[in-house]
Amino acid sequence: MKPPAFEYVCPASIAEALEALAARDDAKVLAGGQSLIPMMNMRLARPGLLVDINRVPELAAIQDEGDTLQIGALVRHYQLETDARIKEAFPLIPAAERLIGHPAIRSRGTIGGSLSHADPAAELPVLAMLGDWEMTVASRDGGVRRIPAAEFFMSYLMTTLGPDELLTHVTVPKQRTGGSHIAEFAVRSGDFALAIAAAMVELADDGSVRSVRFALGGVSDVPWRDLDLESSLVGAMSSDALWREAGRQAAEAIDPADDIHASSSHRRQLAETLLTESLSRAAEQARERSSH
């Protein structure tokens, strides 16, 4: 239960990190290490070279760009939980953070690590899909590319990141109006959730749905979202019945796998209940905000 031997570099800039990643094909990026180190301790991962990005200050910045917030890959969970700019720009981030692991995990784990690890039952990938976040990745030979969340996650623990690429920051469009909510079910506090549902709702003055988006985690190999189902709800009057029906239709559309943690039908029922709850609460919040 100790990591196998590896070579180690600790670059001081993004350029140095990219150089190290390009130099060999068995390199791995070390950020917070809360997923990579256990995998190395269990010898499930044996990188030949660790590129430790913990001393690259450019990666730890949070920048306000007007309509978006740029969050550096090395920003840690506890900062996402407590930073006032993040709460203002995308309140679902601190709400989700309280559900992620334990305080000791949140001290170290990072946004870039969580998104690159791409566990389908993790909260931040669900928010990335929900909020149309964009991942900026860089490599020595390929330059910089920006990848929308919908194209970033490929399958269980798989993203489009190449072995020589580094996720440098995440662009989060600000949520200006409306309400939002995230709900999940985990057996014990801090466990990976069996299912996650997050929703954002904007209402018109007459109480009809101006816009709605929702995403599920833990129910497929990548965070789940259905744009057609979302747009079918636009214009309808917000009501408990509407959100129950949306939850039912989403549960019908997904096909969760059976595993040792939960059966497919259990996950489907959880997804329906959690999504209905998230949509109702987001709509309620949207209504409260517009009446002020």
């Binding site: 100790k2 990591p3 196998p4 290490g33 809360q34 660790l50 305080p103």
Partner: protein, 164 residues
């Protein structure tokens, strides 16, 4: 081997470490601070929890080399001048340990938690401790101890441990 500097319980150490060495192993085997325990070595049990720059962290999921320059508090840093820290005292008074293997992690987690939340409810205590596993005492007495420690600390006992 990389040379690193760690400040542990107020004392600065310069150490040569292999990159693959976990911070927990360096504390235990290079510095002989064996109060930090290794249970699962995969981040689940919480026995190896220490304070890293004032925040709780799993020393089994942190490479020593990554912690270069850090300020660390281990369970050995809690008692001052022969006086137990109020959280230690409360664990003793409330019988919050039997074998004691998980205790260092519970203590470090609780110390940070009570610094952040001096007046917690029982559900908040349970949530704060949910990343630490105990396999013999059970959690009732541990929750009682944290509640008791909170009360003592609110009354103003000297409990400054974080250096930052």
């Amino acid at each position: 081997m990389p040379n690193i500097t760690l400040t542990v319980n107020g004392t600065q150490h310069h150490l040569d470490v292999e990159p693959r060495w976990l911070l927990a192993d360096v504390l235990r085997e290079q510095l002989n601070l064996t109060g930090t325990h290794l249970g699962c070595e995969q981040g689940v049990c919480g026995a190896c929890t220490i304070l890293l720059n004032g925040r709780p962290a799993r020393s089994c999921l942190t490479l020593a080399v990554t912690a270069d320059g850090a300020d660390i508090v281990t369970v050995e840093g809690l008692a001052k001048d022969g006086e137990l820290h109020p959280v230690q005292e409360a664990f003793w008074q409330e019988h919050a340990l039997q074998c004691g293997f998980c205790t260092p992690g519970f203590l470090m987690t609780s110390v940070h938690f009570l610094n952040e939340n001096p007046n917690p409810t029982r559900p908040e205590i349970r949530e704060a401790l949910s990343g630490n596993l105990c396999r013999c005492t059970g959690y009732q007495h541990i929750v009682n101890a944290v509640e008791r420690a909170a009360e003592t600390m609110r009354k103003g006992a000297n409990h400054a441990i974080s250096q930052d």
